[in-house]
Symmetry: C2
Subunit: 257 residues, 2 copies
């Protein structure tokens, strides 16, 4: 039987504020078995870029990453946020290892082709090398992954943390029984956006299609769930969308085949 | 017989400018056998701190690291400089892994006690854990180490890159035949500071004592050489002080027992 691995993606807000980070790391520490933390850091990147006089340009919530912005996200995601988490986990007795996709050549991407929008130095993932990652995890090392990859030609690339979490979860599903948890600012997928308590406990693909046709699931939640079902098709056992503070209990929305 | 390991420390200037970094990475790539790169990044840290409106305070060439400065060095050393090197080495087919002392708990430090000077969040190294590092190196992984450690209580600490290189070289000398190379802005230890060609090819401890008494070796070179002899006493096979651009030939000053 494959051993269990939990891949947890946490957004920027939670990891960028000292108190909520501390709380998250306590919760993350209590998750049993092998685990990986994938983090964001967008708010800090925006703040530091602003302080450095670099304009923050976003299209549909995605950052346009020019050469100067790439330096900022490499500093903030790969340095500031990543190492705060690593040091915090080490202080909790967890043998964390901070990684970008460039380290150990774990995630190689291609610079997103320019279409209507030129996203700049943004990576679309081509390949996850799970061999070394699997060995490290089996030694009880806990990878902490920043939303950065590389192109194999010497350039770092800014890469969506949700996508990194999904691709890493898929790549490791041949070696582990993988649960992928997206920590979210809501308690889960809501039946009514205005009612924080209206969490849908479980969504299968037929449910998803019905909810979409009924207009209950819409907007940015649609691609999130599409990605979740793709990950299930690619071998991930279970996907959970929940609050970061609910990591250690049985809440949120479970996405199942 | 132990296999050969070369630990190379390069200062900030070389790794912070695109052209000289590219040159260095070419030279580093051609160094045969197992290897580790330890880098600085002080000039970038000074520049970014200035842009962020943080005052750069130095005492005897050492940075006073208050909480805001710690964030800057964590970003710059652990993110910007480290990941530029890692991506650059990956593009040259070298399986680089960027590390701070917090990652894998490799280097634990203690915050420097306040005496006449309060250096702030500066680490004095207590312990290097070479077990995992040895395993990684034997898998042909090339560690790229930023001048940052942690205190085991959740804090990163700014740590001198020369010291990191020496302590890592010492800790690995039981598993490897270690050569430690300090890349320097001069061709080696000079007999005459005004004459760049006056390199002393080899210095033993009796030579060192004689040169000191004659006033030929003085100033900042004295602690550098003291550290070198300490490293030899602790098991490092050879120490070389040379130009970064001379990595791949037989120049510089060799420090021998």
């Amino acid at each position: 039987m494959k051993s269990k691995l939990t891949v947890i993606k946490v957004g920027g807000k939670i990891v960028e504020e000292k108190h909520s980070l501390s709380h998250l790391l306590d919760d993350f520490s209590s998750v049993e078995g092998h685990k990986i933390l994938v983090h964001g850091g967008g708010r800090s990147a925006t703040r530091i870029a602003t302080q450095l006089g670099i304009e923050n340009r976003m299209v549909d919530g995605r950052r346009i990453t020019d050469a100067e912005t790439l330096k900022v996200v490499t500093m903030v995601y790969g340095g500031l946020v990543n190492k705060s988490i690593v040091a915090g986990l080490q202080s909790r007795g967890i043998n964390a290892l901070g990684l970008t996709g460039a380290d150990l050549n774990i995630i190689r991407s291609v610079k997103r082709p320019v279409t209507d929008v030129d996203y700049g130095f943004v990576g679309d993932i081509e390949q996850v090398d799970s061999v070394l990652l699997t060995e490290l995890i089996k030694k009880s090392i806990v990878p902490v992954m920043a939303p950065l990859t590389h192109d194999g030609k010497g350039n770092m690339l800014n890469t969506n943390a949700d996508t990194i979490a999904a691709e890493v979860a898929k790549a490791l599903s041949s070696a582990f029984d993988v649960t992928l948890i997206y920590c979210f600012e809501k308690k889960g997928v809501l039946r009514d956006e205005e009612d924080d308590e209206s969490v849908i406990p479980c969504i299968t693909r037929p449910d998803f299609e019905r909810y979409m046709s009924e207009g209950i699931i819409r907007g940015g939640m649609i691609p999130k769930l599409e990605n979740a079902f793709n990950a299930l098709d690619a071998g991930v056992s279970e996907i959970i969308i929940t609050l970061a503070s609910a990591l250690d209990n049985n809440q949120g929305t479970r996405i199942k085949k």
